[in-house]
């Protein structure tokens, strides 16, 4: 459905608003190279590092499903649910280059039956909720039709 609402991020500075190829924005410690998402700005989580400078770094746009579930019941506030509530799937996705997991909703219309550990996914932006003037967008995972049969992520 076409909308004239202004498209704004549901959270500032966590991802690019590139419609074709959006990316999550993490931080990279300039001292030890540790990547963090969401961004760190004042400390590095590496106990062996006292770095205080961080460069913004886009994270990999694609990954593989580490595990998945769904939200059959409406989550409590501050989740802003559609009325009537529509259940959605959730995936924890392994990013190979960063060697980390990132949680996110799966795009509407894709249920748990279409997911598996190892399913290839890519990052897209989609509506989280709307008010009269704005469409608030967030990152979601969309299957790419590929599978990593080795499920090479850490067991």
């Amino acid at each position: 459905m076409p909308t004239t609402k202004t498209r704004v991020p549901a959270v500032e500075g966590w991802f690019t608003l590139d419609g074709a190829a959006p990316a999550l924005l993490g931080s990279r410690c300039t001292a030890c190279g540790t990547v963090a998402f969401p961004k760190e700005s004042s400390f590095c989580r590496n106990p062996a590092c006292t770095g205080t400078e961080f460069a913004e770094t886009p994270l990999s746009r694609t990954g593989t499903v580490w595990s998945y579930t769904d939200a059959c019941y409406q989550p409590p506030k501050p989740y802003v649910a559609a009325d009537p509530y529509v259940p959605f799937a959730i995936a924890a996705v392994h990013l190979a280059a960063e060697q980390m997991l990132v949680l996110g909703q799966v795009v509407p219309g894709v249920g748990v039956d279409e997911l598996a550990v190892g399913t290839g996914v890519e990052l897209v932006l989609d509506t989280l909720y709307e008010d009269d003037d704005h469409e608030y967008v967030v990152w979601k995972w969309r299957p790419t039709g590929t599978t990593d049969p080795t499920r090479a992520q850490d067991a």
């Binding site: 959270v11 990547v35 998402f37 590496n46 595990s67 579930t69 939200a71 960063e98």
Partner: protein, 399 residues
């Protein structure tokens, strides 16, 4: 176990779990009085009060040690208050133990109690965009069962766990809880009933996810020397280890309330996973092995999570928990009964009381006072627990 590292448990007490809707202080008070009565001590004998905090009951909940001390009547006792999410009760035990082992006090009371709202646990109110617990609900709609569902599905795909296995955990714990007067749910269920309950977070169903409950638990702890004077040659139950270690960087398991893990790209992940590390630290401190354990109380926030714990506390190798369950080894009468109390499955979670309640159960089991849920001949028990923000605990109790 060197004598100098143990503290004795003189008394345990609980207010039954339920959805009573009264002030949490009442539950803590009732549990304290029961624990003191078991110990044969008066409140005025207590030199240190360690409270486990609740964050959903206003300021009195944040200063639980003082709140309970005032309710029992100010006596000039020292107090502490601990908050560590689901491990709050274990930190309170740790606090009391440290005071006793340091020789600062002889007798301490540990208390935790909670009054909980209905439904999913939601974050504390307000618009708090710098709080990971607020953000996970707002940006993803990730409730606690979301995380339990992720872990459960992972078990199914990696280790061949089935929905029947998860349901069997619930059936086992429901049977155990039948004989526990402090349990909130005391009703047998069948696998078919579990599998007919509504799906909450695939593959987990309503009967497989722990409820939120009101309840209270307390322990009276003392030094070995005091126990010998007070109780003479009576059988002593001791706390031999309290592990409340943090995770190690990089933490590569997705944990509540995080939306991501640490990255292991710059620094490789080595060593045990967090939950396993919590238990290993307890075993090391007590100087025992998992083979020495006769029973365990583990945090079955979901039916499937209990299977993860079998591996994390070393009852079996990774990937073998389903076999242990199917062989009946973790049921009453088996090699190492898990959650003879009925677990969270029968209690529901009263956060600051729960880790204390786990120890209460071990104490009664080791004394042979657990009635219809007694693990025969039990000498060593272990608890395991995990909460938000990198908190976890494991306590080892022996006689």
């Amino acid at each position: 176990m060197p004598d100098g590292r143990q503290v004795c448990v003189l008394g345990a007490g609980m207010h039954p779990w339920g959805k009573w809707g009264r002030n949490f202080v009442e539950y803590g008070l009732a549990a304290s009085r029961d624990a003191l009565a078991e110990a044969g001590l008066a409140w005025t004998d207590v030199q240190f009060v360690a409270g486990a905090d609740t964050i959903r009951n206003g300021y009195p909940g944040f200063v639980a040690g003082a709140t309970f001390a005032q309710a029992l009547g100010w006596t000039g006792a020292r107090v502490s208050s601990s908050y560590a999410a689901c491990a709050s009760g274990a930190q309170a035990i740790g606090s009391a133990r440290a005071q006793i082992l340091a020789g600062l006090v002889d007798v301490a009371l540990v208390v935790g109690a909670d009054t909980t709202p209905k439904g999913f646990f939601a974050p504390v109110g307000g618009d708090r965009r710098d709080d990971p617990d607020w953000l996970r609900f707002h940006l993803v709609g990730a409730t606690n069962p979301t995380y339990f569902g992720l872990y459960a599905r992972r078990r199914m795909e990696l280790f061949g766990a089935t929905e029947d296995d998860f349901a069997a955990v619930k059936v086992k714990n429901a049977r155990h809880g039948l004989a526990n007067p402090n349990a909130r749910y005391r009703k047998e269920v069948t696998v078919a009933e579990v599998l007919a309950s509504p799906m909450v977070a695939d593959p987990l169903r309503l009967l497989e996810i722990c409820a939120t409950s009101d309840g209270g638990a307390a322990l009276v702890l003392c030094s070995n020397e005091f126990a010998r004077r007070h109780a003479g040659t009576a059988q002593r139950v001791t706390i031999d280890a309290v592990s409340t270690v943090t995770p190690r960087f990089p933490q590569t398991t997705l944990e509540m309330p995080d939306l991501s893990t640490d990255s292991a790209a710059a620094v490789a992940s080595v060593g045990p996973t967090f939950r396993h590390a919590v238990a290993l630290a307890a075993y090391e401190e007590a100087g025992i092995d998992p083979d020495d354990v006769d029973l365990a109380e583990v945090y079955d926030l979901s039916s499937a999570l209990e299977l993860d714990w079998y591996e994390d506390i070393g009852l079996c190798k990774v990937g073998e928990a389903e076999k242990l369950l199917r062989d009946g080894e973790t049921a009453l009468g088996g090699r190492v009964p898990v959650n003879p109390s009925g677990g969270l499955s029968c209690f529901g979670e009263a956060i600051p009381a729960q880790a204390i309640a786990q120890v209460c159960e071990l104490v009664w089991q080791l004394r042979g006072q657990a009635g219809g849920r007694q693990v025969e001949g039990a000498r060593v028990g272990v608890t395991a627990n995990q909460g938000l923000f990198g908190h976890g605990s494991s306590v080892i109790v022996s006689r």
